[in-house]
């Protein structure tokens, strides 16, 4: 047992305590705040598990974006009538007991996993030369399991369509109702003027290093989305109306390039989503850049919510 073990144990206890407070906190607001903290702690946990790519994604999407979304929702729900239906104590105790059993069973199972450790890590590393990439996670996402990644982009688009579908009929293709401040706030305006140039550089850099080091389209796209949201919240720019052609093109650009590259593989390589030998890396980097743009647009629009008002012609 090294000192790292105790550090890990401390981290785990902290994660569990904050996690529990998101469940047991009295006020939804406290729970949402706790969740943001929880996301950041979890990112540290992922670093300790040597999964830097996941740590970045968790911090950016799991903690940051989800946290923003939930905090925004909590703020609006303050006006809601409180809900007084509570489950009785016996029911809660029984449920708690069952859930504890599930957790204990799961933990036991994990500890009892076979000693012989099967893994695809060697295969993933060996084949990485064919992709020209240096980051094995990028290799999995864009070569070995590219189909999953492509479909997951479609999932994001469908989620956005679902969010948009909640607009009132007459507000379709209007402007998302992301409105935190009634009038421009000078402090926020200042931030929204000086941060985005830096953020855009960082986002593009993230995407670019993703081929060889931790990072990639998801992380880069999230940063770009955050910058855009900042500009919108500070009211330097309006949110775009959801029917604008450039917005729609931005949404589908990534998946469309991905799909086209996959289909090109039918002609230029040995099949769908295969890359021509020697050219895999340029293909993948192109796909990643297109995806970064689409992810930025989709995430920002998901956070902005359904359209509220019809665009003034």
């Amino acid at each position: 047992m090294s000192s790292w073990f105790f550090a890990d144990a401390g981290l785990v206890l902290l994660v569990l305590a904050i996690g529990a407070s998101t469940i047991f906190a009295r006020k939804a607001f406290d729970a949402a705040i706790a969740f943001v903290v929880y996301g950041l702690l979890l990112a540290i946990a992922w670093v300790r598990l040597s999964a830097i790519d996941v740590a970045l994604t968790e911090a950016a999407i799991g903690g940051g974006m989800t946290g923003t979304l939930l905090l925004g929702a909590v703020a609006r729900l303050r006006s809601a009538e409180p809900d007084n239906i509570r489950l009785g104590l016996p029911v809660r105790l029984a449920t708690g007991f069952c859930c504890a059993l599930v957790a204990a069973g799961l933990a036991g199972t994990l500890l009892l996993l076979p000693e012989a450790i099967p893994t695809l890590a060697p295969a993933a590393m060996e084949n990485l030369v064919h992709t020209g990439l240096g980051n094995p996670v990028a290799g999995v996402l864009f070569a070995y399991r590219a189909l999953d990644t492509l479909l997951e982009k479609v999932v994001l688009l469908l989620a956005l369509l679902g969010v948009w579908s909640l607009a009132p009929n007459n507000a379709w293709n209007g402007i998302p109702g992301l409105r935190l401040y009634e009038r421009p706030n000078s402090t926020l305006t200042f931030l929204a003027q000086i941060l985005p140039p830096v953020g855009i550089v960082v986002g593009i850099y993230m995407c670019w290093v993703g081929a060889n080091a931790p990072g990639g389209a998801f992380q880069g796209g999230t940063i770009l989305a955050a910058m855009w949201l900042l500009v919108i919240i500070a009211r330097l720019e309006n949110a775009p109306s959801t029917g604008q052609l450039w917005l729609r093109i931005g949404l589908v650009l990534g998946p469309a390039v991905f799909l086209a590259a996959g289909l090109a593989g039918l002609v230029s390589a040995n099949g769908f989503l295969a890359y021509p030998p020697g050219y895999a890396k340029p293909f993948i980097v192109t796909i990643e850049f297109a995806l970064t743009i689409s992810i930025a647009v989709v995430l920002a629009m998901l956070a902005a919510g359904p359209s509220k008002q019809v665009q003034q012609e």
Binding site: P114, P118, V154, L158, N169, R248, G271, F272
Partner: protein
Amino acid sequence: MPDATTSGGILLVFAIVFPVAGVLLSLVVGGRQVERIALIILPCNLILASAIFFDLWRSGSQLIYIVGGWQPPLGITLRADGLSAAMMVTTAVVICAVGVFAHADFDTRAQPFETRAPFVFWVLLMAIGCAMNMIFLGGDLFTLYVALELLTFAAVPLVCLDGRAETIQAALRYLLFALLGSILYLAGTALLYGSYATLDIVLLSQRLRVETATLVAAVLMTVGLFAKTALFPLHIWLPPAHAGAPASASAVLSAIVVKGSFFLVVRLWFGVMPGLLGFTGAQLVGGLGAGAIIFGSVVALRQKRLKLLIAYSTVAQIGYLFLMFPLAFDSVSSQLQSSGALTGGMLLAMSHATAKAAMFMAAGLIYAALGHDRIAELGGAARAIPMTVFAFAIGGVCLIGLPPSGGFLAKWLLLDAAIATGQWSWAMVLLVGGLFTAGYVFIVVAGALGSPHEPLKLRVAVPKYQEAAALTLALLSLLLGFVALGPIDVLQVRPGAMMAALR
């Protein structure tokens, strides 16, 4: 010997690429063209599904496509066996019929600009086609997770397309159940990957050992999929969601979407781990099915609204689908046998898909024509809109299982399996369930045949093409029984490696 891409394998890729391309194109080209795009993509989907089906039938062997040339376990394989091909064709047919039917409610060219509900409906219809194809063809458990999520995100907004508060509540409840289901499924895949370092279905079936982690994974995944399939007692989200949606959406949700997670249960237990369920497990699953049949039927009988009755009937019919588990259990080898019971179960799924879609469409037409769907006041409907009521009745005949419907053949096969394995109690459940079904179908049809209290005035004329769509599906479900004369053997086409693992 590793699998290799077969000659027809490219069809499998197109079955996924086509609808994805349709979704992407629709978002850019814009709302007024979306219906046209869908009406190109959906028939193409049907043609592709039929091509895959006939390829299988002709060659008698499965289709395989290795995506990107990366062999599993590192890469992903698409596979079409008999079950997937048959389900694909059924799904494609139903979705095409819904496409025809939905024109009345979701005409994208009715307005000079893009409108909300039609735009969303057509894109999601294509997305459901894509997700179902992926579920039928996916050869990797994580790809199937993504496909399940694709299906969820395509289905949930359909529930609340009209935007009323009750339907939004229903959609939210549905979403929460579906998310719980998929996260449990994901936990199972994590454990399986940790034990075997592969999620490829065929490789898993070869490497599988009976040990704690595998059992826990199987339980987690199955419970998750039960929640998504709305198997009793995890059904409470289904009736409000399916009954509140617009008729075209209800038809897709009830006929197609629940079959996605059901298909994965079948894949998991018959394909990946046929030896793991054991006698008790099989009886337990059958017991849940029986519970669903009794509960769903009794509640359906007490409904006052037609759409709710049909939704509860779905709860009951889902129960039927799970009866095949105890019936397919072979006590000698203590494995699930991919034989008559499986064929019967899948056939039941297919005939339920066509029949239920027809019934929801008919209910939608009845509602549109009468302005309500109160069962007690249906009198005169049979005279006013005979084709619609006829379609409903034929769908009902198939659900009850009268010859020559697909439901009859399916239940025959299940009964045969029950007798062959000496499990009389399940035969009883089958027969009693049929009586219940006959009861609630009879209530509706008798009501519609009765004379009205006051002269019936139709609010709108029911378009002929909508009646035709409903009737076509109903007749298909009726004629499905005739597959016994021909392509039913296709259902027995299994991955070669899997068969070898079974022996």
